[in-house]
């Protein structure tokens, strides 16, 4: 018992809550629970409820859940029609698949670029290490939108890259880079690279140098040591970084909207169109719920893997 828990106001409060059936522990948990309940769970249920309705021209633009039938009895109106629609219309299926593909490819590239950077920073001596780490975080201090616009300046037909290549005589006419999937990949990998680097860095700094020496002492070349020791031991960092890139990349809206072309089909854009162009809130809600499930599933899988490993 420390000074705080022995003090009179605390004891009084604890007594009151004790009478109400709360312990100190549940109070501590209550704050995040309340936060999640108000700002995540409640909106989720609202969304779920809208996804079961039908679009009408009214305000709000969907049918109410309860209604008075002409005979005065209470009617509940809910249907899975919107979900069936998502399954049947190839547009949505393609959008989901294409989102997953874009997110997956971006994650792989972010990993391939981020791993050597994280490794280098983790192995750098101290003053240099802090500077390098700062350089990874620094872009966050400017607006995300601004940085995407900057990429437009680089990628467009009379942009920096094309002008440079033209003046050097490498190409005769500008390469079309804007409004392509390529631009979307660049945007996503660029934006989410720090989320890959930071967990990897945190993992790789913990790697015991003696293990690498032991491996080398037992006859492993640096390459073999990397694949048999460093890589397996950094797997938690790889998984964490990949999740942090993959999950936001799936639902990414701004980058494909600004850098992508008309055929860049991503679920974030479909969602926007359903809500604001078609004003079909129920279908849009269904799209959002399905996306949530798609994103949550890999996290749950990851958690269960980690728990299993923890129990070993």
């Amino acid at each position: 018992m420390n000074a705080l828990t022995r003090s009179a106001p605390w004891r009084g409060t604890a007594w009151v809550f004790g009478k109400l059936g709360f312990s100190g522990r549940s109070l501590v948990i209550a704050i995040p629970m309340l936060w999640l309940g108000v700002f995540f769970l409640a909106p989720f249920f609202v969304l779920g409820r809208i996804s079961l309705a039908e679009a009408i021209i009214a305000r709000p633009p969907f049918t109410p859940l309860f209604d008075r039938a002409p005979d005065g009895s209470l009617e509940i109106f809910a249907s899975l029609e919107n979900y069936r629609f998502l399954l049947e219309d190839a547009l949505y299926r393609n959008a989901y698949l294409s989102s997953i593909r874009v997110a997956l490819v971006s994650t792989i590239f972010a990993l391939l670029i981020g791993y050597p950077i994280a490794y280098y920073i983790a192995r750098a001596p101290e003053p240099k290490r802090s500077i390098l780490l700062l350089m990874v975080i620094l872009p966050f201090w400017t607006s995300f939108l601004l940085r995407v616009y900057a990429w437009m300046g680089f990628l467009r037909s009379n942009g920096v890259i094309n002008n440079m290549l033209l003046s050097m005589g490498v190409i005769d006419s500008p390469i079309q880079m804007m409004q392509t999937d390529f631009a979307v990949y660049i945007g996503i990998v660029y934006t989410y690279l720090p989320f890959m680097i930071l967990p990897l860095y945190a993992n790789l700094t913990k790697l015991d140098g003696a293990l690498l020496e032991a491996s080398s002492d037992l006859g492993a070349s640096p390459m073999v040591t990397f694949f048999t020791i460093t890589l397996p031991l950094s797997l938690p960092g790889i998984v964490a970084g990949s999740m942090l890139v993959f999950i936001p990349a799936i639902g990414e809206y701004v980058i494909p909207a600004l850098l992508g072309g008309p055929d860049t089909l991503m679920i974030g854009r479909v969602l926007w169109d359903e809500f604001f162009s078609s004003r079909d809130w129920p279908v849009a809600s269904a799209v959002a719920i399905v996306m949530l499930v798609l994103v949550v599933a890999p996290i749950m899988w990851l958690q269960s893997v980690q728990n299993r490993r923890g129990m070993d």
Binding site: E213, D217, G219, I229
Partner: protein, 377 residues
Amino acid sequence: MDGPAIAADTRPWRDPAARPFISVRDVVKTFGDFTAVCDVDLDIYKGELFCLLGESGCGKSTLLRMLAGFEVPTRGRIEIDDEDMAQVPPDRRPTNMMFQSYALFPHMTVEKNVAYGLLREGVKKPEAYARALDMLRMVKLEKQARRKPDQLSGGQRQRVALARALVKRPKLLLLDEPLGALDKKLREETQFELIRIQETLGVTFIVVTHDQDEAMTLATRIGVMKDGMIEQIGEPREIYETPNSRFVADFIGTVNLFEGRVEAAAPDMMRIDTPDLGPVLVSPQVGLSRGQQVWAALRPERFWLTREKPENAPNAWHGHVEEMGYIGHMSHYRIRLDSGVLVRASQSNRLRDEDPISWDEKAWVSVNPAAFRVLTR
């Protein structure tokens, strides 16, 4: 010192014609402006169990790491089995190392840890695992083969590390504080276990340690290091009985040091005048001249303690027992001599029904002239 003829075979360092297995020549290692190892010359012979002994920061680990190839000497030459090691990276050296932290791969089972080195050598999997299991049997861990390192006790981990370092049958095994993390009882058992394994396999061992008891128990020879330099190399007995400096005398075991000047150097007896004890008669030692400043070193167990003044004792002083520590097989004394100087003496308790000299008793301490070791630095 001429030993019996047969002993020359097991103590090649006594044979001037013997070729050293490892030769370290004028090796220097600096880190920035700090000199970790300074002009070290060292010959180690096949089958030896050589201990590098010193306090932390004395350069012993750096020397070991240079032998393993993790550090490159700033200057000098290291040869193992007549091969210059300058251009040989750690993974191509005929050495294996047992790390102080054991450095077991946490994501591999015990079995995989031990087989790792064999697999890197290109040994086929079934054979590698069979040999790994043989080695685990030798360190009595075959039942734990499928466990992960974090499921083992400290002593078990130590044995896995040893098995992993030995499985490739290296010509030279380097051990960095191999028993440092074990508790006292386990450490003593493991010391003899190490000697047994070393003798069974005939591998040359170099052990780095800061624990003088460990070095004395394990080593065929000891190299005492201080400030990056080797102070003395010798068999444990030589190091203990004939240290070449006050540092070595004080570092290995306990010692009483009496500063003085050589007064008379007769061929049969030498006299040293010390402020603490007055004139002391010692056996003559070569290379000393009259008036030279020396230190007479004496191990505590070389004092004779008696209640009566001993007869015909050339060196005898009277004093009283200030403190006495009974630790079972020995008793340690601190005796204040009449001259005011405090000396440390010890007696072994050989008889059960002795009446030992105890606190506050008056006593005589006497010393055989041959028991002193005269040091010049």
